[in-house]
């Protein structure tokens, strides 16, 4: 049994009855039991429940009822609510929280027969780029256990890279799917804002958060996207007026935008891999056009102000009263709030909440948040103009390969990891990170960014790229 098979390959194995869902799930459970002590990708797995679900899938298959994911394991990032399961967001504050309901995405996957395989590790409340802020301990990159997997969807990316599951969900507020996909050598897809429901995905920054997937291939990402998408009346920002007319048509060849200025301060080996991707796409018949992008540090500053401000509002719900852990030492309601949060939140979350509260409270004529939102408009306008000239944009996914766990980065250095990914979230665009090479034995990815509703378009380009290259087929040695 090869643990690195695609969804289509697994589906064929199951349909032809070469393997049962129970055998398939048992195989992946054994693999997790054997190797996950090294990587710490999963924060919860319930083998008995998995096997019971798998037996149910085998039974319905025998009755001729088949979903698109029938019998196939799917892991969920620990910020997606799964009914009856601990959903901790990898925070001490929610370490005992059992969700009373399913996120819409979890439900959509389950409806198609996907087997809920467990929760993956992440940065606490999705705030981080290294998966080191989890209350359950850091994830280690399967390519090199002394290195981080990226974050915040580090557990999902590493689990797919390690061959523990063929697909895992993730969330991307500023690059949290694409950066770990780059570090772990997998395909990370962040759809257009509003195409996937956020109901049941614990909020970080509501105008930026978007669910997505970590998979082996762009084709698998497209399959998952079809299953997960759709309007959800429970999510006010879910695209209610969606119709096929809005979709940007898939076509080939394309004009691809390329901002050479983005490569200025990158390692020459990484530049070579991105240049190599450009050559591959040219060989496929696409044309390239030089474009200018918004100043990265300004876009990043705008992103951090907005995301911290939204987080400080969203996370105010965690007061220890209705759910989550509550301090044992409080003689007044004020002390209860203060002590619960001081003891429940980790350092990075506290840092961002304090910064966000400050940004929201400053009373200068033009405060931080409004100024940041004006910059957001400028980034948005630039991309709108850019997509009048080109069909998609090619850009780096991350400024480096996976860094070491013991590497000391200060807050702003860590935040700058996201400088290639945040403009996509500011503008609600779709983007996919695909593996484009190895540098000193570590994977690196490249991003394809599309206009709003160009999800299928960028996945098609990624599919064509992966049909021409084999970088997505490389595997770590565990």
């Amino acid at each position: 049994m090869d643990p690195y098979q695609t969804l289509e390959q697994l589906r064929q194995l199951l349909e032809s009855k070469q393997i049962s869902a129970e055998e398939l799930c048992r195989y992946f459970l054994d693999r997790i039991a054997q190797f996950d002590q090294q990587t710490n990708c999963f924060v919860s797995v319930e083998p008995e429940q998995v096997l019971a679900e798998a037996r149910g899938a085998d039974k319905t298959r025998d009755q001729g009822i088949n979903g698109q994911l029938s019998g196939i394991p799917v892991a969920h990032k620990d910020n997606f609510c799964v009914r009856g399961q601990r959903t901790s967001c990898c925070s001490n504050l929610l370490r005992t929280f059992i969700s009373p309901y399913d996120a819409t995405i979890v439900k959509n996957i389950s409806k198609e027969g996907g087997i809920y395989f467990g929760k993956t590790n992440m940065d606490e409340f999705a705030m981080g780029t290294s998966n080191q802020t989890s209350t359950w301990g850091p994830v280690r990159n399967p390519w090199d256990l002394s290195r981080v997997p990226g974050g915040s969807s580090g557990g999902s990316a590493a689990a797919v890279a390690a061959g523990f599951v063929p697909v895992a969900t993730g969330s991307d507020t500023g690059g949290s799917i694409r950066q770990p996909a780059s570090f772990c050598g997998v395909t990370g897809f962040k759809p257009t804002y509003g195409r996937l429901s956020r109901y049941g995905m614990i909020a970080f920054a509501s105008s930026l958060d978007q669910a997505g997937t970590l998979t082996r291939t762009a084709q698998d990402a497209a399959t998952m996207f079809r299953i997960m998408q759709g309007h959800d009346p429970r999510d006010a920002t879910s695209e209610a007026s969606w119709s096929d007319d809005k979709r940007v048509s898939v076509k080939h060849p394309l004009t691809i935008g390329y901002a050479a200025s983005l490569l200025n301060d990158l390692d020459s080996e990484i530049v070579a891999r991105i240049e190599g991707s450009r050559e591959t796409l040219e060989r496929l018949g696409n044309k390239f056009k030089d474009v200018e992008v918004f100043d990265q540090d300004l876009a990043l500053s705008s992103y951090y102000i907005i995301s911290c401000a939204e987080a400080s509002s969203n996370l105010a719900r965690f007061d220890g009263i209705r759910y989550g852990t509550r301090t044992k030492s409080a003689s007044s309601i004020q002390e209860l709030y203060e002590n619960t949060r001081s003891q429940g939140f980790g350092d990075e979350v506290k840092r961002r909440l304090l910064a966000g509260t400050y940004f929201l409270s400053t009373n200068s004529p033009e405060n931080y948040v409004q100024k940041a939102q004006k910059l957001r408009r400028m980034v948005y306008a630039l991309y709108q103009e850019l997509f009048q000239k080109v069909d998609v944009v090619l850009a780096p996914s991350a400024p480096s390969t996976a860094f070491r766990l013991d590497e000391q980065l200060d807050s702003t250095d860590m935040y700058r990891q996201d400088r290639f990914t945040v403009p996509v979230n500011l503008c609600g665009l779709p983007a996919v990170s695909i593996p484009c090479g190895l540098v000193n034995g570590l994977p690196i990815g490249v991003q394809l960014i599309g206009p709003q509703y160009g999800d299928e378009l960028i996945l098609d380009v990624a599919y064509r790229f992966q049909s021409e290259t084999s970088w997505h087929l490389h595997r770590p040695k565990l």
Partner: protein, 78 residues
């Protein structure tokens, strides 16, 4: 937070503020703030009462409840 913790966080916040303060160098007069990336218009939902889902189940997640209420330290002093 302990004093040591406050000191570290203050130093980190200063670094963050120093970094993001660069936004104030950009002229933005006449530009409308962008609050949301997609135009979702004014959302309206029908004004129909619905049963709140899983009230009892939700309360099982609270550390302390009594008779359907959440129990907290005294809020109003006599």
């Amino acid at each position: 937070m302990s004093d040591a913790e406050k000191e570290t966080i203050c130093a980190d916040l200063e670094l963050i503020l120093e970094y993001v303060d660069q936004i104030h160098t950009v002229p933005t007069d006449g530009i409308d703030p962008l609050v949301h990336p997609i135009d979702i218009g004014h959302l309206r939902t029908s004004d129909e009462p619905e049963t709140s889902a899983h009230e009892n189940l939700n309360q099982t997640e609270s550390v302390k409840t009594a008779e359907g209420f959440y129990v907290v330290p005294k809020v109003i002093e006599p």
